[in-house]
């Protein structure tokens, strides 16, 4: 065996090992939790009606923190239960894939809050967040079960269609609570639906 052949073998082994170490923790409870947080967030936001763009962005940033923190605790508990480290190579790759699109989405939200005053305009922000959220999930899907990539793609398509509808005024703003309702449907409803689907289809008791 030539040394360059050995090097190629090592590279192939490394690639296969990386591909094998896919994140496979149970996603159903996390999805259901995020869905419930999103829907409750939408209902509370709809009644509370933050009457400025800044209030809307701050409010949903808080909801996102609650959802992320709860998800973090769930993943951590699953890791401990399986006697495995929380910060494993698969989860590191998932987080690294999520960060860039999530950061851009957050930056656009902050920018939007700085240049807009009116809550009505926030409806446009929802599809933008949908697209960047979908991009993050789609990227993370390369290191997760196949369904996650489709879930990400669904958000991207939904975001683009929603944006198209809003810009062409096919979708209108019926009330001031509209952006919050839209958030409840997209971030709450989609997560909850996918979580319920996973609950019945996801293999149990297996993680890596």
């Amino acid at each position: 065996m030539e040394p360059n052949q050995a090097a190629e073998h090592l590279q192939a082994i490394r690639t296969l090992m990386e591909r094998s170490a896919v994140y496979r923790r149970a996603l159903a409870p996390i999805m259901v939790y995020c869905g419930v947080v999103g829907i409750v967030g939408g209902v509370v936001g709809g009644y509370w009606l933050p009457n400025s763009a800044r209030g809307f962005v701050l409010y949903w940033a808080s909801v996102a923190v609650v959802a992320l923190f709860g998800s973090f605790l769930m993943v951590r508990r699953q890791s401990f239960k399986d006697g495995e480290p929380f910060w494993s190579p698969p989860i590191r790759r998932v987080v690294e894939a999520l960060i860039p699109p999530f950061a851009v989405g957050a930056f656009l939200g902050i920018w939007f809050a700085c240049v807009n005053q009116d809550i009505d305009g926030c409806g446009v922000l929802v599809p933008v967040w949908c697209v960047f959220f979908g991009l993050g999930i789609y990227s993370a899907g390369f290191f997760m079960p196949r369904g996650l990539k489709l879930f990400g793609l669904f958000y991207i398509v939904a975001g683009i269609l929603l944006m198209w509808g809003l810009l062409n005024q096919t979708v209108r703003f019926p009330t001031a609570a509209f952006p919050n309702s839209l958030m409840a449907i997209t971030f709450g409803g989609f997560h909850l639906a996918y979580g319920i689907y996973l609950y019945f289809t996801e293999p149990r008791g297996k993680a890596s």
Binding site: A6, L10, A12, I13, M17, S20, P203
Partner: protein, 102 residues
Amino acid sequence: MNPEPFLQLDRVIHEKGRLAIMSMLAASPELSFTELRNALSMTDGNLTTHIRTLQEEGFVAVSKSYAKNRPLTTCSLTPGGRKAFASYIDLLEQIVRQNKPK
């Protein structure tokens, strides 16, 4: 070049298909037959043959169970298989090191 490390390479692991199976299993506590088949784009027959060879060598353990009323075959590396795989990697690294310009 010293041919010694190459001669020590485990012939069972050195085969392309079996090396791929060992590599996948080395990075995961266990993988189902379907996961291995899909990840490596192998036919059922080909994968079964390779797994049987690895099992006979004591490198891979196969367990059969049922999930949602469907048979589930899972494979994992045995401690001996893990050790043999680590030795194989060491030898490959030795071969690479041998020809590095000093």
